[in-house]
C-alpha cells in the first residue's frame, strides 16, 4: 500500500489533495504556499486530476469563488497564508456561517510589517474565531494525512464546517523528508465525497447567505457553537478509522514523556520535534520534562489537555504569534491557562514567545525554556509576562 517518496510539505499536501479528487481549486500564489497550487495546476494540466482550476485575482476572490463552489456542492480546495489569509478574512466567516464544507491549507507565515515571508503562527492565530475547524501538523507525513482527515470531517453531515489544515512555512513546506503516499483509491475510500444536505441547484432553488436580522442571527450563532462542539466526536472517529486503515495514530493532542513529568512544554507545529529531541537529552540528565503538542486547535481539546497535564507542577506554553496587550501574550497560552483553570487544576502556567518571523528554535533556546521551568517549578508566583525566547536584548 502506497510508497515512500522524498517530499517537501507542500508537495505532500498537493499529492493528498489530488487523491481527494476536488472538483474546484481556487488559487492565488503567495510564499511559502505557492508550490501547493502550482503542483495542483500541473496535475490538472497533465490530466492526472479532473478539476476546475481557477486562477483568481486575489485571495479575497479565491475564497469568494470557493464559497460559490462549495455552495453548489463541489468538493473545494484552496491554500494561502499571511497577508493572503488576512485578505480572505471576511469570507472565512461566511464560509463557516453558511455551513459550507471545504478544505483550506495555511502554510503558516508571519504577518507584515516589517515584510516577512518566513514562518510563525501569526496568520493561523488571526482566524481562530472564524468558525473553522483548525488543525496544525508537525511533519510532512502528518500534513499529507491531514488533508483526507479534513475532507472526511468537513463533509460529515453531523459537522458541515470548513476545515483549515496547517503546516509551518519553509521548515515544513520546503523541507524534504520521507512521506508515505497512499494509493489514490485508498484515500478516496477513506474520504468519499459526500453531498451536503442542501446545495445551489436551479431545479430546486434555495437562498444562501441572506440577511439574518436580530430575530435570527443569534440563533444561527448558537447552532455554530453546537456544530463545532459536535465535530470533536467526528474528529475522534476519523482518526480512529485512519489508524485502522493506514496504521498512523493521531489525536487532538500528542504527548511525549509526560507520565512522570514535573514540568512540561506545550506548543504547536514542527518546533515540537526539536523540543522532543531536547527532552531526550534532558531526560538523560534526570530532568523530568515532557511535551504536549496541540494538533487540533478548534474545537480546543481542553479535556485532553487537562487530563495530560494533571500531574505536572508547571507548564510552559510556547506561542509562535504575539498578541500584544493580551493577558498572556499568546492565544495558545490563554486557552491552555483557561482550560486548566476551568478544570480547577492546581497547575501553574507561564508563557514563551518564540520563533517569530522565521527565527528557528535552537537547542540552546529549548534549554533556556526548560531552565526557566526548573527555576519556577517550586515557586508559588510565576511571571505573568511571557519570556521572549531568542530575541536580541
Amino acid at each position: 500500500m502506497g510508497k515512500v517518496l522524498p517530499l517537501g510539505g507542500n508537495y505532500a499536501v498537493a499529492y493528498a489533495v489530488k487523491a481527494c479528487k476536488p472538483d474546484v481549486i481556487t488559487a492565488y500564489p503567495i510564499s511559502p504556499q505557492t508550490t501547493i497550487v502550482e503542483r495542483l495546476s500541473e496535475f490538472v494540466a497533465n490530466g492526472e486530476l479532473d478539476a476546475e482550476f481557477l486562477h483568481v485575482e486575489s485571495e479575497h476572490s479565491a475564497l469568494s469563488v470557493a464559497i460559490g463552489a462549495a455552495a453548489a456542492g463541489a468538493r473545494t480546495y484552496s491554500a494561502t497564508c499571511s497577508q493572503g489569509l488576512a485578505l480572505m478574512n471576511e469570507l472565512l466567516y461566511i464560509m463557516s456561517h453558511v455551513r459550507l464544507p471545504m478544505v483550506l491549507t495555511i502554510v503558516a507565515r508571519a504577518l507584515s510589517a516589517p515584510i516577512n515571508i518566513w514562518n510563525d503562527h501569526s496568520d493561523f492565530m488571526s482566524v481562530i474565531d472564524s468558525g473553522w475547524i483548525m488543525m496544525m501538523s508537525a511533519s510532512n507525513q502528518e500534513a499529507y494525512d491531514e488533508i483526507m482527515l479534513a475532507y472526511r470531517i468537513a463533509e460529515d453531515p453531523r459537522v458541515l464546517l470548513p476545515v483549515i489544515t496547517s503546516m509551518d512555512g519553509y521548515i515544513q513546506s520546503h523541507v524534504v523528508e520521507p512521506v508515505e503516499v497512499v494509493d489514490d483509491e485508498d484515500v478516496i475510500s477513506f474520504a468519499p465525497k459526500r453531498k451536503s444536505w442542501v446545495t445551489l441547484d436551479p431545479d430546486k432553488p434555495v437562498t444562501m447567505g441572506a440577511v439574518g436580522d436580530p430575530n435570527w442571527y443569534f440563533e444561527f450563532q448558537r447552532q455554530l457553537w453546537e456544530a463545532m462542539k459536535e465535530s470533536r466526536a467526528v474528529f475522534d472517529e476519523a482518526v480512529a478509522e485512519f489508524s485502522k486503515k493506514f496504521g498512523r495514530d493521531y489525536s487532538a493532542i500528542e504527548t511525549y514523556k509526560l507520565d512522570d513529568a514535573e514540568v512540561a512544554i506545550v506548543g504547536m507545529g514542527s518546533f515540537m520535534g526539536t523540543i522532543k529531541a531536547y527532552v531526550d537529552r534532558a531526560r538523560k540528565n534526570g530532568v523530568k520534562v515532557g511535551t504536549l503538542r496541540v494538533k487540533l486547535y478548534r474545537p480546543f481539546p481542553s479535556e485532553d489537555i487537562v487530563r495530560a497535564l494533571s500531574n505536572v507542577k508547571l507548564v510552559g506554553v510556547m506561542d509562535r504569534a504575539l498578541v500584544p496587550g493580551s493577558p498572556t501574550g499568546g492565544f495558545l497560552h490563554s486557552d491552555v491557562a483557561c482550560a486548566v483553570r476551568q478544570a480547577g487544576l492546581d497547575v501553574k502556567t507561564l508563557g514563551y514567545i518564540a520563533g517569530l518571523g522565521g527565527k528557528l528554535l535552537t537547542m540552546d533556546n529549548v534549554k533556556q525554556m526548560v531552565d526557566i521551568l526548573l527555576k519556577y517549578k517550586d515557586v508559588k508566583e510565576v511571571p505573568k509576562e511571557p519570556f521572549f525566547i531568542g530575541v536580541r536584548e
Partner: protein, 104 residues
C-alpha cells in the same frame, strides 16, 4: 410573535422556500398610490423597468383607447406589494401615472 428556536431552523440560515417574499405584503407601507391612466399610457414599459419592487404588472389584456388605438397589453399595479414610492409616476414619459392619497 413566537419564532422557532435554534434547533428548529435550517442550518446556516439557508432559506428553503424560494420566492417567499411574495408573502410579505409591503402594500400597507403606502401613503400615496399610483394610478395608471390607460388612455394616456403608451405601453413603453418604463414604469415596469423602474419599479424597485416589481409591483408593476404587465398583463395580456387588450385595450382600445377612445381615439381608437388598440393595445395588446395593459399595465397594472400590484397593490399588495407597491410601497407607493412614486418612481413610476416620476419616470413616466407621458405623465400617465398619478400619485393619489389613499383615504383610509
Amino acid at each position: 410573535m413566537s419564532l422557532p428556536g435554534w434547533k428548529q431552523i435550517p442550518l446556516g440560515a439557508v432559506i428553503l422556500k424560494p420566492g417567499n417574499s411574495v408573502e410579505y405584503k409591503t402594500g400597507e407601507w403606502r401613503t400615496l398610490r399610483p394610478e395608471i391612466n390607460q388612455e394616456k399610457c403608451i405601453r413603453c414599459r418604463t414604469c415596469w423597468m423602474f419599479c424597485p419592487e416589481g409591483a408593476i404588472l404587465e398583463v395580456e389584456e387588450p385595450y382600445k383607447t377612445q381615439a381608437g388605438k388598440e393595445y395588446r397589453l395593459t399595465y397594472k399595479v400590484n397593490y399588495d406589494h407597491c410601497k407607493g414610492c412614486g418612481i413610476c409616476a416620476n419616470e413616466c414619459p407621458v405623465k400617465a401615472i398619478t400619485m393619489i392619497e389613499e383615504a383610509i
